[in-house]
């Protein structure tokens, strides 16, 4: 036993926490194989636990781990008689040079941070199924365990493990690149990346199912990955917009669920329970994004969230401005739900008659089984003094609601019409 022993485990653990994400990205890119990279890296950390107590703590722990993992991968590939070309590529893998005396170790590690960006694009590649992109992003970039991911998506552990094995195999066999796409393809590929992060966030934000703690973790990871992406691509306004949008939503997380589990709509939320620090961070991001003058769907949705956040009370919300923003969103990403939101905002801005007219103009068939559509109609009709028509809409809304708490909330409103 060396005197190093007590804190070596701690040193290795610290090294792992700080570097594993970047190192696995560098190795994955050189190998074109995430699974082999993960295995080699794990072997390297095990070797560190064994050798650092004996040989002393290396001057460059990250470089030591990367070099060891690379050598383990080369050994494995030699045993598997993999082509010479791949071995040469791996042997040529640059290990961060020892920093000059005046440079910090952080500089050496930052030199490989581009690889992490490439890994993000590989994990969110359009040739992969969306559920596989989400699982792989959570496993490889967020570091969640297979069990955690399976629980978050209410899938058996073995199924999720299989899904991850299959997606890593597809990346290796079809040589999905670990590169930032060329400029001509960057906008659509970045859209795919943003969509995966936002899906992860929304999966965590939906209060309807699953374990609350796991859900909270999904939101936190989506935001953390959003911050990584924003730091690696600081000139992309939609990335800032997405991060701002997630932060605005997350700021209201505690205020939006009643003790009985039902959702509290924005106007009824206790604004003092909103998280001011997150709103401030989101405001700053949105402001920086808008200075690029390249609006996109995430920035517009963030701007709508900002309009709610800046109002001192529910009565002060600038609904005319929100209706206009939904109009922009409708033109960029046409969908019946966006149109519905625009109609609802119009109703708040210009009164129930204008709101009902806007609702009447929507494609009824596309929204017929979407309960918020009927709730919006019921609300407008009741404000116009047409309780019989409002009751009919409430009954439709109740019929199309799966959430029990939401249904009982709507029944209360239906009964209130008679009074």
């Amino acid at each position: 036993m060396s005197i190093w022993a007590p804190d070596t485990a701690e040193q290795v653990a610290r090294c792992f926490r700080e570097d594993a994400g970047r190192t696995v990205a560098t190795l994955s890119r050189a190998l074109g194989d995430i699974e082999l990279a993960e295995d080699a890296l794990q072997e390297a950390y095990l070797a560190a636990l064994e050798r650092w107590p004996r040989d002393g703590f290396p001057a460059q722990p990250s470089a030591w781990i990367l070099a060891t993992a690379r050598n383990r991968a080369i050994d494995r590939l030699r045993r598997e008689r993999v082509g010479r070309e791949k071995l040469q590529r791996l042997a040529a893998l640059e290990i961060p040079a020892p920093p000059a005396d005046d440079a910090s170790e952080e500089d050496a590690v930052n030199a490989v941070s581009d690889d992490r960006l490439g890994l993000i694009f590989a994990c969110c590649h359009p040739a992969l199924r969306v559920e596989a992109r989400i699982a792989l992003t959570l496993r490889t970039l967020a570091g969640l365990t297979v069990e955690e991911i399976a629980d978050a998506f209410l899938v058996p552990h073995a199924t999720m493990a299989q899904r991850l094995v299959r997606v890593k195999r597809k990346i290796r066999e079809s040589a999905i690149p670990f590169d930032v796409p060329p400029a001509a393809r960057l906008p659509e590929r970045l859209d795919d990346v943003c969509a995966v992060l936002y899906l992860i966030f929304n999966e965590g934000y939906a209060a309807s199912s699953g374990d609350r703690l796991v859900r909270r973790e999904l939101c936190d990871e989506a935001i953390r990955l959003g911050r990584v992406l924003a730091s690696l691509m600081p000139q992309e306004p939609e990335v800032m917009g997405l991060l701002a949008l997630m932060l605005y939503a997350d700021s209201r997380r505690e205020a939006r669920v009643a003790p009985d589990g039902s959702l509290i709509t924005l106007p009824d939320q206790d604004r003092s329970a909103w998280n001011g620090a997150k709103i401030a961070e989101a405001n700053d991001l949105l402001g920086r994004a808008m200075r690029h003058r390249m609006p996109g769907p995430y920035q517009i949705q963030a701007a709508i969230a900002f309009a709610h956040a800046k109002a001192a009370s529910a009565q002060d919300v600038d609904w005319a401005g929100i209706a206009e923003l939904y109009g922009h969103l409708e033109r960029m990403t046409p969908s019946p739900i966006v149109s519905l939101n625009r109609a609802v905002a119009t109703g708040f801005a210009r009164g129930p008659a204008a709101g009902l007219a806007a609702l009447d103009a929507l494609p009824h068939d596309a929204l017929a089984d979407y309960h918020p559509y009927h709730v919006a109609r019921a609300d407008a009709l009741s404000r116009l003094g047409r309780p019989a028509d409002a009751a009919e809409s409430y009954r439709s809304a109740i019929a199309f609601t799966q959430n029990a708490a939401e249904r009982s909330h709507l029944r209360t409103k239906l009964r209130a019409l008679d009074e």
């Binding site: 074109g32 008689r81 993999v82 082509g83 070309e85 791949k86 590529r89 590649h125 040739a127 066999e173 079809s174 040589a175 999905i176 690149p177 590169d179 796409p181 060329p182 001509a184 393809r185």
Partner: protein
């Protein structure tokens, strides 16, 4: 054409682009056939220009397909393709490019992608 995206570097993987065509009511006339050729020739030239060309061929019509199976030592020969599908395999290209993204760029330029589908399958490298 965006040939800059196809330019090779680094690792080389071979992919087969399988061109599936939609069902047609009748065979194309010689004039229609001739009219479609320049687009295919331009596509082939683009592949060659990027040093990605390995092989390619159109397949004779699906009516000419013969399928062979050996079951319990008995060889069974049947007329027609192995599976009855609406879209039929009309030809293939094999390209030699650095990654799936390059193969996707190539497939996107293929005239067959406009009315049918191009399936990309990596060739397994058995090493040597």
């Amino acid at each position: 054409m965006r040939s800059d995206i196809l330019l090779s570097k680094g690792q080389i993987v071979k992919y087969m682009l399988l061109i599936y065509s939609p069902p047609v009511e009748r065979e194309p006339t010689p004039e229609e056939w001739a009219a479609s050729m320049p687009a295919w020739e331009a596509f082939g030239a683009e592949i060659r220009k990027n040093n990605a060309w390995v092989d390619a061929a159109p397949l004779a019509g699906v009516d000419s397909a013969t399928t062979v199976r050996v079951r319990d030592g008995n060889r069974v020969v049947t007329d027609g393709p192995f599976a009855e599908t609406k879209e039929w395999l009309g030809g293939y290209y094999i390209v030699d490019v650095p990654s799936l993204d390059h193969a996707i760029e190539a497939a996107g330029m293929c005239p067959g992608a406009k009315d049918g589908s191009v399936e990309i399958r990596p060739l397994v490298d058995l090493g040597a």
